[in-house]
Amino acid sequence: MFYEFALEHAWLIPLLPAIAFVVIGMLTRSYGKLSALIAVAMSTISFLLSTGVTYAVINNGISVEAPFVQKLSWMHIGSVDITMGVLIDPLTAMMLIVVSTVSLLVQIYSCGYMKGDPGYGRFFAFLSLFAASMLGLVLAVNFLQMYVFWELVGLCSYLLIGFYYYKISAREAAKKAFMTTRVGDFGLLLGILLLQINFGTLDFMALKEIIPAHILSAGTGLMTLIALLLFVGPIGKSGQFPLHVWLPDAMEGPTPVSALIHAATMVVAGVYLVGRAFFLFQEIPCVMNVIAWVGGFTAFFAASIAFTQTAIKRILAYSTISQLGYMMLALGVGSLTASFFHLMTHAFFKALLFLCAGAVMHAMADEANIFKMGGLKNKMPITFVTMTIGVLAIAGIPPFAGFFSKDEILGAAAAVSTPLYLLATLTAFMTAFYMARLLFVTFFGEPASEESYEHAHEASWFMLVPLMVLAALAVVSGLWGHMFGFGEWVRFGAAHEAGIDMFIAVSSTILSLVAFGVAWNIYVTKKWSSDTIAEKCGILYKLSYNKFYIDEIYAALIKVFVDGVAKVFYWIDIYVVDGIINGLAGLVGGISNLLSKAEDGQAQHYAGFFVCGVVILVAYSLYYLAVLGGAL
């Protein structure tokens, strides 16, 4: 049977794109179309295998308690044994589907989007490497395997953000992304090391057995530290406050990259890690609290910045940060199901939004500022419809996907903490507003620039087909998950009952509709002036527009504490450490100079020294005899 084959050979899922990377990178990268064909073909097989695996999970009744595991030894030294392998349970299956679907669609879209780019082949090589790394991460059987692929997706992100390497801004953004996530990885690595040292294993299934017992006997002290350190990694990777700064800048990369890596897949790696290690986190309530509040605050904070941004991809980037905050919040309040449900729907509608944004920018000669667009709905009807679906989905309007998943999160938050629930609801309102603003300003009203409006055109079919598929998913994935028992499969502990709290559902929908109405009045009918509102908000507007100056603060801190200290150390090295060494050398040199002066070749001097010596010896002998009274 195909699905049995897929399950047994799940390791092929990441391997095939990896092969595509090697083949394109080594051989075919100068042949653009061939490279694209190889990449898409490999991704298609990966996708088919992923669906096979998912079918096998359902058919064989593989559950989170009884996953399918295959592994082999990767490295063994002393007492340290590192394995690589595949761990397949419903979480994995869901992630495989999400990653391989979006990855395949984005690759197809890129065939059209990247047309004419001199780095066409290179682009598909990197996309394939990314798919391989991300799929490997999803299949990880232990923390180290996850860390390995975690770093590799980071590398791909770096390479793809900096894809237009001739642009200074892209180059700097790539570096910033790598550095910021590296700070998070430092924490993650420490956490992993502590696990290895204390438990002698990093295997998820083994730790799942050991840790509850450890906490029972030894308390939560050590585990709290480990859990907090591990969580630093996801803060970096999933753009949580205060390490969110790299994600908006990551939009320097080509738009398909933003859709795939910085919206749908890589940035949810942090959420996935927390979910994968949920057995560890959920044992420690105070860490869960930290996760919930970091997530809740990030959701609100990023939404407040998205309010005032003007670049289309930046708005979407902040909305990604905000939605990732939602997922963290859901994990923090203990609902793995809600978090992963949102992860899935978000992957579809956010990829859709980004790809639509790409289509728009493509049509507008790479214009990014939404206020320089306008009126595009007549020129690009398909893009307009699909984008509207995306906006409705993210705003949580029933029956679009975001409604069901957001509702789950709000419900989970309400069950645990009222302040968090209120914060999340407020964020939902803000989300609806800024997304409506994005949609209305871009597609409605009068064109801001006649010339570029004239040139605007609908994108090619390579780009439109993925849009339509994603739009369909953004419509049905929520309802589908709701009806067919997503929570029975993707869960931690007991199965989650699918149910809608009418109060939460109705109130959040009404708030979203109100937000739409406000945005309509401001940006379409212009009944209320946005400038006046901005003026009235004064300092708040300025803070939001300048992203709360966090980038500037970090830059100043780095200048003092990294570059400053570096200069001081360098000074010490040259003038103190090396100075002492050179000083010693100089001392030796000086003494030898003195001594060599004595040896000047003049017989009179030698005779003089000789006489002096004799005088001293005689004097000393007399002194010895006379004063000390000794015998010679």
Partner: protein, 511 residues
């Protein structure tokens, strides 16, 4: 191949080439290059054969050769390799071959250059395969001479003159060897008196040391001497300042071999003599070494951030990476020591690749500063690939050679020196910072037509990238190839190290 003196052949290959080249006309530069490349290819092939036919289950010294030499002193021409020295030998030949190709375009006194290079490689090879302490010292001293001459003739002058750089390198090497020599002579005399026979045999000395025949006080004293010698060779703080200046002044091949392998004699010696022969001494000084290791990592990484000259960046970076080796050594357990050995190999490959790329760019453009070089990925995509590979390995990217060694060191040292370890691990952030800054400035950014007239690497110029790149990726994807080998050398130390862990004699009692 029973009875074939494999290690002697590896040692003789460069020597034969050197002798042969003496009889070749200086004008026949191409023949000289081909002779050198052939000799190193043969040496590498033989080493690879040894590497893959080494019996991992048996372990211990293999491919042994032993011919008595000076009977009265107990000197033997004794060679052999085990899981610790075989990776170092492989490293030597990998880098040796790459260095031959990196020097392909040298036109000034080609003949003399290659003869000296071959002598240098032979010297380094000898230190790793010698099982007799006398031969070890002899080969070590052989290394000093070619280095000095090569730096002052083919070196380059930037911040410091090549004469200063050559002098500094040589004096440090000699100072180190002076301390080492005193330590070794003391060890020899002491061992002779307790064993009743004169021997330089490292295994016999190790047995004497581990059986407790050498007193603790003696071990502490002798280890200090070795630490001063090997430590300064390994650029241990505060004896590191030769490293950046020396590499900056040296020609490419010397930088590659010095940073790649010669430096590693320090770490190798600390394990082979320090740990195996003087275990109590190692235990006593370990906390000090761990502290200095932490300083190495942090301090040098910080300084690398402030550097403008590429060679200085890599020079300080190499000091920083050696901190990890020292930390792995100081933690004194099987896992950490294995990591230290493996990390020497990893750093060797990576730094040699870095120096090869810098050397190539410098040879073409005569520029080395990150303020002058920019956007080279446009004109030199292959060189850019080399820089990226080396840079990513430097910041410990999984899938490349240095990740598993570093991880192993961290696992091994964390529980022994948690504070030093955490500080040292934070080095991964600073390493990433200076590496990425350099890569960004030098490789990326707008195209500068100034560099249009320089061609990308091709033909022989590509060889260092290919040879070292294969090692970098191969050992990265299949770390067990390296770790399995290292393990056969380090895992038998388990009883010794466990015994040491129970010994309380540490400096000042601090941990």
């Amino acid at each position: 191949m029973t009875g074939f003196p494999l290690l002697t052949a590896v040692l003789l290959a460069p020597i034969c080439a050197a002798v042969l080249m003496c009889f070749v006309s200086p004008k026949a530069a191409q023949s000289i290059r081909i002779i050198s490349a052939t000799a190193m290819t043969v040496a590498l092939a033989l080493t690879l054969y040894a590497f893959f036919s080494y019996d991992l289950t048996a372990g211990g010294m293999q491919f042994k050769e032993n011919i008595p030499w000076i009977k009265d002193l107990g000197v033997h021409y004794a060679l052999g390799v085990d899981g610790i020295s075989l990776p170092m030998l492989l490293l030597t030949d990998l880098i040796g071959l790459a260095a031959v190709y990196s020097s392909w375009n040298i036109t000034n006194r080609t003949k003399e250059f290659y003869i000296l290079l071959m002598i240098l490689i032979a010297g380094v090879t000898g230190t790793f395969i010698a099982t007799d302490l006398f031969i070890f010292l002899l080969c070590y001293e052989v290394v000093v001479i070619p280095i000095y001459i090569m730096v002052i003739i083919w070196g380059s002058t930037k911040r410091v003159s090549k004469e200063y750089a050559g002098m500094k390198l040589t004096i440090y090497l000699l100072m180190g060897s002076a301390f080492m020599l005193v330590g070794v002579v003391a060890l020899y005399l002491m061992a002779s008196s307790v064993l009743g026979v004169n021997t330089f045999d490292m295994e016999a000395l190790a047995i004497a040391g581990q059986m407790g025949l050498l007193s603790e006080n003696f071990q502490i004293f002798a280890f200090l001497l070795l630490l001063l010698g090997f430590g300064s060779l390994l650029s241990m703080f505060p004896f590191h300042s030769w490293s950046p200046d020396g590499y900056a002044g040296a020609p490419t091949a010397v930088s590659m071999i010095h940073a790649g392998v010669l430096k590693k004699i320090g770490g190798y010696g600390l394990i082979r003599l320090g740990l195996l022969v003087l275990p109590l001494g190692a235990k006593f000084w370990a906390p000090l070494i761990a502290g200095l290791a932490m300083i190495n990592v942090m301090y040098a990484a910080y300084i690398a951030i402030a550097q403008k000259d590429l060679k200085y960046v890599i020079g300080y970076s190499s000091v920083s990476h050696m901190g990890y080796v020292l930390l792995g050594f100081a933690a004194l357990n099987v896992v950490s020591v294995s990591g230290a050995v493996a990390n020497m190999v990893a750093h060797g490959v990576m730094s040699a690749l870095f120096f090869a790329m810098i050397g190539f760019v410098y040879e073409k453009t005569h520029m080395r500063s990150i303020t002058e070089l920019r956007g080279l990925a446009h004109q030199m995509p292959r060189v850019a690939t080399g820089f990226m590979l080396a840079g990513m390995a430097s910041l410990g990217l999984p899938g490349l050679i240095s990740f598993i060694p570093e991880f192993t060191i961290f696992v091994g040292s964390f529980s022994v020196y948690p504070v030093f370890a955490v500080l040292a691990i934070s080095g991964i952030i600073f390493t990433a910072l200076y590496t990425l800054r350099v890569l960004a400035k030098v490789l990326f950014g707008p195209k500068d037509t100034l560099f249009d007239r320089y061609a990308d690497a091709k033909g022989a110029e590509m060889m260092p990238l290919i040879i070292l790149g294969i090692a970098l990726v191969g050992f990265g994807l299949f770390p067990q190839l390296l770790m399995g080998m290292v393990g056969t050398g380090t895992e038998p130390l388990l009883p010794l190290l466990e015994r040491l862990a129970d010994t309380s004699a540490v400096i000042g009692g601090i941990r």
